[in-house]
Amino acid sequence: MSFVDTMLSALSSFEMNYTVLLLIAVTIPGLIIFLIMTVNAIVMVYMERKISAFMQDRLGPMEVGLFGFKGGKRFWGGIGQTIADAIKLLAKEDIIPKNADRFMMMLAPFIIFIASFLTFVGVPLSENFLISNFNIGILYILAMSSVGVIGIILAGWSSNNKWSLYGAMRAAAQIISYEIPIALTLLLPVIISGGLDVHTIVDWQLQNRWLILHSPFTFIAFFIFFISGIAETNRTPFDIPEAESELVAGWMTEYSGFRWSLFFLSEYTNMLIISLVASFVFLGGWGSPLTIINLIPGDYMYLDGPVWGLFWLLFKAIVLIFIMMWFRWTFPRLRVDQLMYLCWKVFIPFAIFNMLAVGIWEVLF
């Protein structure tokens, strides 16, 4: 069912050494993930610049065109802008400060990149479009997304810059704290649907109703999950680690060129992962909006199917990403201790209470 499995079965008809077979069956999905991540970054950066520009009563990128298509007066204006930026970043000089720890500084972006890459392996894009079908899906996603903290701390420490150190310490505290509400709220679908596997959760939703409407407790859990997810990806209002007006660029200050684009890539991938996970855990995955409350169970002939599934899942994820961007340009920034207060004294008690309440609900209904 998963991509790697299909590849393996397709390639096993050739007579080859098993290790070479395995290598090919693994690299091709890897390249596909990398392609998805880059396309996602390109599209989302363009989206962010245009959305932020329209919210601020200006136009955003307008000049750079793609193959001669320059775009209209307002929308699709500078559609080739991100590609031009990506090329520029790749061609930039790679500066490493003299007193910085060279090996660590070169290693840090790759660790962060690997963390988001590995998480993406377990996140589905559609019913059949899953890179690897783990039967501990949710747990794998949680575990792999925690690896990124190491990269951030390494980046801040090795830059030999007090401001980067501040940013890294704040980021570490923030990310580690906010993983707890995420884990606690992600346990609710597991309790309700009875399995850690991605397919189990979505199938339960397609047969019953979207988890967000299952009980008032899951409704609250969705918001706790979403806001903690924004905190995980260091977006405003939780963007203290990269607070532009306080710490220059926080833990990314000393990075330039390709390494910086790796940070950027993994930040946008994290945003996509959080939105995708929220979509398939709480919002019904690849089911159409007709499955919100499943009045007529069964197949919906016109809005179901592999391609439609991909469309619905991406649609929900993009709506959530739009909301994330909307938050960034509306709210001021929270201070570090207010952030911590929010996590430990508001979210975690609510999440624990939610778990108990959902358990009781399951027993009663």
């Binding site: 932020s52 200006r58 209002p237 963007d239 532009e244 306080e246 709210f331 920034r333 201070r335």
Partner: protein, 380 residues
């Protein structure tokens, strides 16, 4: 969040970290260097180091005739340049003992109040930026562009005007200035409601600014803090009401005072809301001026040679940052002997060290932003 909770009482021997918020930094409003001694995130001592923008204004003015000093005053506080030259002109006129036509006084008030709106609007945008809200910054600049366009039709320059001269103003109001300004005021008042919704009652903004950096009344007066920062601490001290100059005694306006609505009196939120309300008061003053302004010749009282009598004068003016004072000593020549500019931001900044002890680094930036300093007039 009180200050006492933030100190470390564990008894471990720790060393203070000295953090340098250097001359180049996105949020120090100019070239200001802050040497911050911190214990983790908590600040124990701040030492502001200024002088990076010193341009020897006072020494230059000793070699220039009185009317040629006006462009130099503009460049000191580049965000309220009309106020700088207005204050200087009032000081020189006290030594010249001339009587100005009413039209000149009204034009000066109109221009000063427009400049006050521009400066306070700029403050709102930049303060939001310091706290993390990026959108009000762009909205404010869009509106400030219209004020700057008005000034361009009046004086020809966008930022540094050289408009208010000792004895009068340099040009009369052009043809459609009054109608354009009234159009702008009608357009601007609803925009303030939008910014209000985004910032003033926003829960995160209130958490970041209320109860932070409380400036006591007595501490404020002792440090010489004036202007909106002093009014936010609860003292009604506005030179336009206490010692009215120009035609302010004929105009009807209120002086907003900080009341501690969201926290303690004298916190950053109060300093923000006082400036926000002052914009509304300035709009009121502008509408009254346009009704009362008489006709006349603006160049009637311009002296051919500016030669004040011998003596010294200290003249005070309410600029958008506080009390702007000019101490001018004249020997009867056409060149001043000594011009001392008492800039409001100079004394406001000296209060930073006292106010921000015990807060966190993010709070230092908020407090610095709320004091509304411009390095140009601190360093002169």
């Amino acid at each position: 969040m009180s200050k006492e909770n933030l100190t470390d009482k564990s008894g471990i021997n720790t060393e203070d970290m000295i953090l340098n918020m250097g001359p180049q930094h996105p949020s120090t409003h100019g070239v200001l260097r802050l040497k911050i001694h911190t214990d983790g995130e908590v600040v124990s001592k701040i030492e502001p180091i200024i002088g990076y923008l010193h341009r020897c204004f006072e020494k230059h003015s000793e070699n220039l005739p009185y009317e040629q000093v006006v462009p130099f005053t503009d460049r000191c506080d580049y965000l309220s340049s009309m106020h700088m030259s207005h204050g200087y002109s009032i000081a020189v006129e006290k030594l010249l003992d001339i009587e100005l036509p009413e039209r000149v006084e009204y034009i000066r008030v109109i221009v000063s109040e427009l400049q006050r709106i521009a400066s306070h609007a700029f403050f709102i945008g930049v303060f939001g930026l310091d706290v993390g809200a990026i959108t009000p910054f762009t909205w404010v600049f869009r509106d400030r562009e219209r004020i700057v366009d008005l000034f361009e039709t009046l004086t020809g320059a966008r930022l540094l005007y050289n408009y208010v001269w000792p004895g009068g103003v340099s040009h009369d109001l052009p043809d459609k200035f009054v109608s354009r300004t009234l159009e702008f005021l009608d357009y601007f008042e609803p925009q303030l409601i939008e910014i209000d919704e985004l910032l003033t009652t926003n829960k995160i903004f209130i958490e970041r600014t209320a109860d932070i950096g409380v400036l006591d009344k007595d501490v404020a007066i002792n440090y010489g803090v004036t202007g909106p920062s002093l009014r936010a601490s609860g003292i009604e001290f506005d030179l336009r009401k206490n010692e009215p100059y120009s035609v302010y005694d004929k105009l009807d306006f209120d002086v907003p005072v900080g009341k501690g609505e969201m926290g303690t009196v004298g916190d950053c939120w109060d300093r923000y809301i006082v400036r926000f309300l002052e914009i509304k008061e300035s709009i009121k003053i502008l509408r009254q001026c346009f009704k009362l302004i008489p006709k006349g010749d603006v160049h009637a009282a311009l002296p051919k040679k500016v030669r004040p009598r011998k003596g010294s004068v200290y003249s005070r003016f309410e600029s958008s940052r506080g009390e702007l004072g000019y101490y001018i000593i004249s020997d009867g020549k056409n060149v001043p002997t000594r011009v001392k500019m008492r800039s409001p931001a100079f004394s406001n900044l000296s209060a930073l060290a006292q106010v921000s002890e015990g807060w966190m680094i993010s709070d230092v930036i908020t407090i610095l932003g709320s004091l509304d300093i411009v390095l140009g007039e601190i360093d002169r």
